[in-house]
């Protein structure tokens, strides 16, 4: 524990005013710690990492971290991150934001970055609710659950972020929880290491909004719920749909080998490098 804390402190900004904005017991801090340990474990230099977020409680993570940090507008971090990556492909670009930010207002950017296999890692902290604005329903709020804007129970179907990413073309998709923090860190490291679009969905607790409205109890109780309902992917593959009812799967959910966007674009640049510049200039001007 002490050793973990030392690692975390190495990556926090000492001059940034603490305490943070999160409620005591919030899972976002655990997700942040897991991310830090993943980056540390990969031996990445601080200067070579950019953390990009949108707006929301989760999206406040970057301000505390001693990396290149970009806190953007609501829903748009993936689009900003795309520009950062293409301007400096040497950077490891990690987007960290909430379920509302990435899947409601930012849903279009999410599916298109996955489709183009853009070389970024998205860490989606799924607390099933809009935390920052006070508990309105999000695209992941389960049917029948209460939210301040679903006072009679949620009637919309929800997104499964991991399935959405896979269907859109992501080449690495994983899910973890803030209870399984060590595994979460490992999944994040795997995601960050790879080229192409990777998603790590983090099941987290918002006891202040979601938990309170749905009577799911304290932070501890909600995190224990994760322990009780998570099924490792290796185990789940041997279970029937009936056995999996009401549970969710954690671990690596999807992997595909495809070159990332940057590698593909670089091939075009290289083609021009090799060709006769003089001739190309003329072709382009007249064409």
């Amino acid at each position: 524990m002490e050793q973990q804390s030392n690692i975390t402190h190495k990556y926090l900004r000492p001059k940034k005013k603490f305490p943070n904005v999160w409620c005591p017991g919030c899972g976002i801090g655990i997700a942040m710690g897991a991310m830090i340990r993943a980056i540390d474990g990969l031996g990445l230099q601080k200067d070579d990492v950019a953390i990009v977020s949108g707006i929301g409680c989760t999206a406040r993570i970057p301000v505390y971290l001693d990396f290149n940090t970009l806190h953007t507008t609501h829903g748009r971090p993936i689009a900003f991150a795309t520009g950062v990556k293409l301007a400096n492909p040497k950077l490891k670009v990690i987007v960290v934001s909430g379920d509302g930010d990435l899947l409601a207002i930012g849903g279009n950017h999410f599916i298109h970055a996955a489709r183009r296999n853009m070389d970024i890692t998205v860490i989606l902290v799924n607390n099933y609710i809009y935390g920052m604005t006070g508990g309105q329903y999000s695209p992941t709020t389960p049917v029948t659950k209460l939210a301040s804007t679903a006072p009679y129970g949620m009637i919309e179907q929800s997104f499964d972020p991991a399935a959405l990413a896979k269907a859109s073309g992501a080449t690495f998709v994983a899910r973890g929880t803030v209870y399984h923090a060590t595994q979460l860190s490992r999944l994040m490291a795997q995601a960050i290491e790879r080229p192409g679009f990777s998603l790590v969905e983090v099941i987290s607790n918002c006891h202040t909004q979601y938990g309170r409205m749905n009577r799911e109890g304290s932070a501890v109780k909600m995190i224990l719920w994760q322990k009780e309902h998570a099924v490792p992917a290796t185990v789940a593959s041997k279970m029937t749909p009936e056995q999996l009812e009401g549970k969710f799967v954690i671990g690596v959910l999807h992997e595909a080998q495809k070159p990332g966007y940057v590698e593909e674009y670089q091939k075009i640049i290289d083609r021009f490098r090799a060709a006769d510049e003089e001739k190309l200039g003329e072709v382009v001007v007249s064409g």
Binding site: P62, F80, A87, N88, H112
Partner: protein, 386 residues
């Protein structure tokens, strides 16, 4: 390697569109990243850059919408690439929130808005100047935009370069406001070699990272700018922030930030603004026109002079900030100003403000998708002269 690439045939006549000239201007200015979404009448800019950016080692990407396009160019600029997007009314509207982000986070970017008729989808293939006020007030909050208005194909080239230079110098988004006619018309131009183009880059930090403040309030309000990946590890946010970039709720820091956004522009208004005046020495009537309307105005004053009318013309190349100090003295000597515009009256408000009722201000507004003709302007001059 980019130095050795022959971008275009320089120093010889080329027949080219305004949109193409914007694209070549961007490349000559050092643009190495473009993100955009197709929209008439701006698309040729994106197409030219899709073909040519990889030749200079730069990136082009067609994003899923205009919101993503401007987000991507802001991200790219933060990571060190000079970046641009191009669009028209509907896309420019979608860009407004992130344009505000770039004002707040002081990120240099260039946006070309090739104006078409509005509101809404309006007239995709017809000319308009109805985004003049949107270019000033489009996003929420207080901020001080720089907006340039070319009136010929060559000026599209020159002003795109100037837009990059000013974006870098002042760390602001700069809009190049052209229109459907300028974007699509072809003229013979002679372009300089890219190496002969005056290119300015963002002021770079001299302090070591421990001392660096991304939004340092300097005597001229312009702060040096490091890029991601260079060891400075700064924080950017659209929240109101202190000099280091961290969010603040302290009244003195909030005010200092908003003052900085204002003063970095208003203190440099003299260098930023540019106008052209023609035949104003003895003029009683001024025609005040910008963009493609200025072309008709130039023709009109020649025609009117032949009829011995004492008329001149003033054309702002910078429409925001409005060149008050350059235009006000010229208003002293005239009785009447004619303001032709392709909208229901936008820039005319600025002339009315400056003339303070001492001068008669006469509108000439057309918003039927067609250009104002020189003879329409001459007719108004004739009437005012009588």
């Amino acid at each position: 390697m980019s130095e050795t690439v022959k971008l275009y045939k320089s120093n010889q006549p080329l027949l080219m569109q305004g949109n193409e000239a914007c694209g070549w201007g961007a490349l000559a200015a050092g643009c190495r990243f473009f993100a955009g979404y197709p929209i008439t009448p701006s698309t040729e800019i994106a197409e030219l850059l899709a073909r040519n950016l990889p030749r200079v080692g730069g990136y082009f990407i067609q994003m899923e919408d205009e919101i993503a396009s401007i987000a991507a160019i802001i991200g790219a600029s933060v990571a060190g690439s000079k970046s641009m997007t191009a669009t028209s009314g509907p896309g420019y509207s979608l860009m407004q929130e992130n344009l505000g982000y770039a004002y707040m986070a002081e990120v240099p970017i260039v946006v070309v808005n090739v104006q078409r008729g509005g509101p809404s989808t309006g007239l995709p293939t017809k000319v308009s100047q109805a985004d003049t006020m949107q270019a000033k007030w489009g996003t929420h909050g207080d901020y001080y935009p720089i907006v340039l208005a070319p009136s010929s194909v060559k000026e599209c080239f020159d002003m795109t370069i100037k837009a990059f230079n000013m974006a870098e110098q002042y760390r602001v988004p700069v809009t190049v406001l052209t229109d459907e006619v300028l974007g699509h018309m072809r003229e013979i131009v002679i372009l300089p070699e890219p190496s002969a183009v005056k290119v300015l880059n963002r002021p770079r930090p001299v302090d070591p990272p421990e001392w660096y403040k991304h939004f340092e309030i300097t005597p001229d309000y312009l702060s040096p700018m490091a890029s991601f990946g260079e060891g400075y590890r700064f924080h950017l946010t659209g929240l109101t922030h202190d000099e280091s970039g961290f969010p603040t709720a302290k009244p003195n820091e909030i005010k200092a930030k908003l003052d900085k956004l204002k003063l970095k522009i208003t203190r440099h208004r003299e260098q930023i603004t540019e106008i052209r005046s023609d035949m104003m020495e003895d003029a009683h009537i001024m025609v005040f026109a910008y963009g493609s309307t200025a072309r008709a105005a130039r023709q009109a004053i020649r025609m009117a002079r032949k009829k011995r009318f004492k008329v001149g013309m003033v054309q702002p190349y910078t429409i925001w900030p409005f060149p008050d100090d350059k235009i006000a003295p010229l208003l002293e000597n005239v009785d009447t100003v004619v303001v032709p515009e392709l909208n229901q009256g936008q820039i005319i408000g600025e002339i009315e403000r400056l003339s303070r009722r001492h001068v008669k201000v006469v509108p000439l507004q057309r918003y039927d998708g067609e250009l104002i003709t020189p003879s329409q302007i001459v007719d108004v001059i004739k009437e005012e002269h009588a």
